[in-house]
Every structure is written in structure tokens, then in C-alpha cells.
Symmetry: C2
Subunit: 249 residues, 2 copies
DNA sequence: ACTTGCCAATTGCATATGCAATTGGATAGC
DNA sequence: GCTATCCAATTGCATATGCAATTGGCAAGT
């Protein structure tokens, strides 16, 4: 248990006091000056050192604890946490947004739509009964005219209202669903796969070309809403994220 | 601007009052009962309705605002936010951990190590001067004896202490670095690529086989620490994340 | 030694209070 | 009508205060 020097905590006078305290301590932690395991001075000490009230110091410490930089326990005090396993964040944008952010012209085309019952595989994967009604969609999204991503989607009809009257002429299904359905939970998986024959033709790439496959399933209160497979040609796509040891940067 | 019914906020008596209030309002928002754009009752109203002090109500609302569910402005009040673009979280585990979580036996092998200057590409990619010293490493990680992932790593010698004395016999470089260096910022990218000839041989797969490529670069206070390319055979790997509309689930 | 019980240090939570900052909307003046 | 001004509603921040809950460590007793 290393010592912490109390006078290392220095306020900079910018913004609310509680936030100055928070930043001051955070900087000591992320700079490594206060190593994991060292104990942070108790609230009373900081309160006297900094000339702030206990509640103000408390507020700063509570926030740092919520951010995972410190761990607080009654009686035994506050110690610097060891950085947790990191989480990388990937922004999930709608595909039109994604394309426009790249500065390219967006277009899409609904290649096929069938309304019916789920195939056994789909029902299994998605937790549906064979008797539930679903819509299948096949959409290709284009950026500057070139195929950008191939979307295969299954929508659980009972989970969305107004689906049967919608032809997706004005809005691609993903965006339409965002506006017309609620979701409370999603899961996605990223993997790599070679393009199949049909897929290669639609994406205008060679068969076997490595692609990023993003599979996403969405529920609302345990009821399935939609499942989608997005196939991105690998050589022109990368998902980028930035972060720090304690969370998003 | 829709109306919000004040009496919709109901406490459940479990845990701290401020947290009951927070959860009660959060539930109204995520259930869609309070649509985006509707205004949340002012602190005074909630205070009277719930029989709590203003500071307690305040605390709940401040926290909800930090979580992005509501937006607060002086005088104009508090309104329900429209859900932001989602972030998906991918847990970044150390590779030994990753393998063990799959219930498989972990092993690794350092295939090559060279200490020297960065190649022009590496220097460019990583923001190093040609004169900086770097170590190159090539490591294969195995799960139950089979190649799991191929790691190509560059380490900026000046950014880490004790590197030259370390032979990575006991700990793979990624884990060793976590223990012996600080980092404040990281960036990673995921893409799909076909295995090259050498890579295919080391991973025991066919040339051109689709693979997930994870590239990660790490800095400490703007100084480069390490850059790594992790090549996962695509057919046996997927990165999975779970989340909700307002963040991690 | 080992166990039990107690004390005090430390954090957690809630309240009451006061003032500052922002700004929508009303009002007065032109 | 249009603009400048003021007012009041609302949130933001800090303090002072008191009690509750947890628990490390000491002390007493066996």
C-alpha cells in the first residue's frame, strides 16, 4: 500500500469545484502518479486541504467511483482501482449516415421482399415460432453508385406496426424500423467470411473475397423485432474505435 | 411537446431514494411512455409529488442527464432526449484470457524478435521517427494446440522500461505490456482480409482464407507505445457485443 | 491463542438553505 | 409592429448538518 501525497491534489480554478477535484484526482490516477492500490486520502483530509465542503468532495469521489477509477468502501477508505478489461466502442450508424459521412452519394435498392413464415434456421436463430409471420428483405446499399453493403433482413411482423403497408420506397428498412419500432436490447457479432456466389454478384466482387459480416439481432422486452446480416466487402471497410483504459475517450 | 403525467412516476422503495427516482424515470423513458421531446416535470413538482427534497430529485435528474436519457436547460426545463447513435461495446480481453474463457488450453510461441529501427511504413503508420528504436515481434497463440491468432507487434522501446531484458518466455508481450507500461489512448480498427502465404502457413489455413484483422495502436500521453496486428481465422471467430439504445446493457 | 464484542473511522444518504446563471416570455416604450 | 428591458421559472452549485451503515482493529475475556 503506497503512500499518496495529499498536496499532490491541485485545483485549477476552471469550472465547478466538484469537477476541478474530480479532474485533479483523475489526472493523478491516469498519469500513474497514484498507482493502482494506493489509497486516496479520506474525504475529511481532502476537504481541509482543498477548502471545500465534504459534500463537494464526496460528489467528485462518487463520480470517479462510477467511472471505475477508484473503489470506495466504508471504513477501509478509497483506493485507486486497477484498470478493468477495456471496452472498445464501435459507433453504429444508420447506413445512409455511414455513407454520407464518407462524403459519398447514397442510394439503395430493395432487391426482394417476401412475406411469410420463417425458415427453420431463421426461427431457431431468432427464437421465433414457425407460426409467426415474418418479412424477408434483401437490400443493396450503394455509395457513389458502387455496392457498399448487402443487407439480408428478417422482421418479426408482430413486433412492428404498419409493416405491411410499407414498401420501403422512401426509407431503407433499417432506418424505417428505427422510427417505427422500439427496441430495448440488441446483440451483434462481427466475423469474417468469404463472399458466396450470389453475394459476390450483388456486391460486384470476386467469389471468396474476404468480407466483414455484421450480424445484429434486436429485441423489445424479449420479443424479437428484427435480425439482419450486413455483408461488407472487406478491402474497403474497417470499423474504427477510440478509447482509453477506463472507457470511451 | 407532449404532456407528461406527473403521477406516472412511482417509487418502488428499493434502495436509495435518488436511485428509485432515477430508475422510475428511466423506465418511463425506455418503455416509450415518455416519448422523446416530452418535457419532464420540473424539480419542484417531482419534489412535492414524491416527498423528497429538491437535492435528491436533482441528483437523480443529473445522473439521467449524464447518461444521455434527458436534456436539461435552465429555465426551459428538462426534456426526454432522442436516442443517440448507438455504441456497441466489444470487450478487449488479453488473449490468454480470451482463450481460457472458451475453455481451451492456452499456449503461445514467440516466432521471431528483432530489435532495430522502424521500417518507413511502420514509422509512418505509428508516428515514429526513423531514428527511434523499436522491437518487432511475431507471436502465434494457440488454443488446444491449434493456431488461434497471429500477432505481429511493434513496440516503441523508449515508451516502455525493462523491455530489452525481457524475453517473453513467461508472459506473452501483450500481457507483459499491460503490466509494464501505461497507456492513455488507444485506437483500433477491424477489417476483413485474406490470409497471405506466410500467414496462412503459420495459422494452418488456406491462402486467401478470410480472416478478421484487428489493428490496435496505443499511446501514452501522445507518445507511441505499441502497435499490433491480430489476425484471426474468420471461420472460427466472432466478436460479440450486447447493448441497448442508451448504451451498454 | 482464539473468540467475542465494542469503538471509531470512513463512506453513504438525505435534508434544508441560499445564491448564481440562464433564458422564455411578458411588458413597456418607441 | 418592433425592440429593449425586466421578471420569474428553472436548473446549477456549494455549504452545513445529521444520521445510517459498514468494518478494521483493538481490547477484554476465556
Amino acid at each position: 500500500m503506497t503512500e499518496t501525497r495529499l498536496d499532490a491534489v491541485k485545483l485549477d480554478g476552471a469550472g465547478p469545484v466538484y469537477d476541478q477535484i474530480r479532474r485533479a484526482i483523475r489526472d493523478l490516477v491516469v498519469s500513474g502518479e497514484w498507482q493502482p492500490g494506493t489509497s486516496v486520502p479520506p474525504e475529511h483530509a481532502l476537504m481541509e486541504q482543498l477548502g471545500a465542503s465534504r459534500m463537494t468532495v464526496h460528489r467528485a469521489l462518487v463520480q470517479l467511483a462510477r467511472e471505475g477509477l477508484i473503489i470506495r468502501r466504508r471504513r477501509s477508505g478509497t483506493v485507486v482501482a486497477t484498470p478493468p478489461a477495456s471496452h472498445a466502442m464501435l459507433d453504429i450508424l444508420s447506413i445512409p449516415e455511414e455513407v454520407r459521412q464518407l462524403g459519398q452519394a447514397y442510394a439503395y435498392e430493395v432487391l426482394a421482399r417476401t412475406d411469410g413464415r420463417p425458415s427453420p434456421e431463421v426461427a431457431e436463430l431468432f427464437g421465433l415460432k414457425r407460426s409467426d409471420k415474418v418479412a424477408h428483405l434483401l437490400v443493396v446499399h450503394r455509395a457513389d453508385g458502387k455496392p457498399h453493403v448487402l443487407e439480408e433482413r428478417v422482421i418479426h411482423v408482430a413486433g412492428v406496426t404498419g409493416l405491411s403497408d410499407e414498401d420501403f420506397a422512401g426509407t431503407p428498412p433499417g432506418d424505417w424500423l428505427l422510427q417505427h419500432s422500439l427496441w430495448s436490447q440488441a446483440e451483434h457479432a462481427i466475423s469474417a467470411i468469404g463472399a458466396g456466389e450470389e453475394q459476390a454478384a450483388l456486391l460486384d466482387i470476386a467469389v471468396g473475397e474476404p468480407c466483414l459480416l455484421v450480424e445484429r439481432r434486436t429485441w423489445n422486452q424479449l420479443q424479437p423485432v428484427t435480425a439482419v446480416r450486413l455483408l461488407y466487402p472487406g478491402f474497403r471497410h474497417r470499423f474504427v474505435g477510440r478509447f482509453g483504459p477506463y472507457g470511451a475517450a
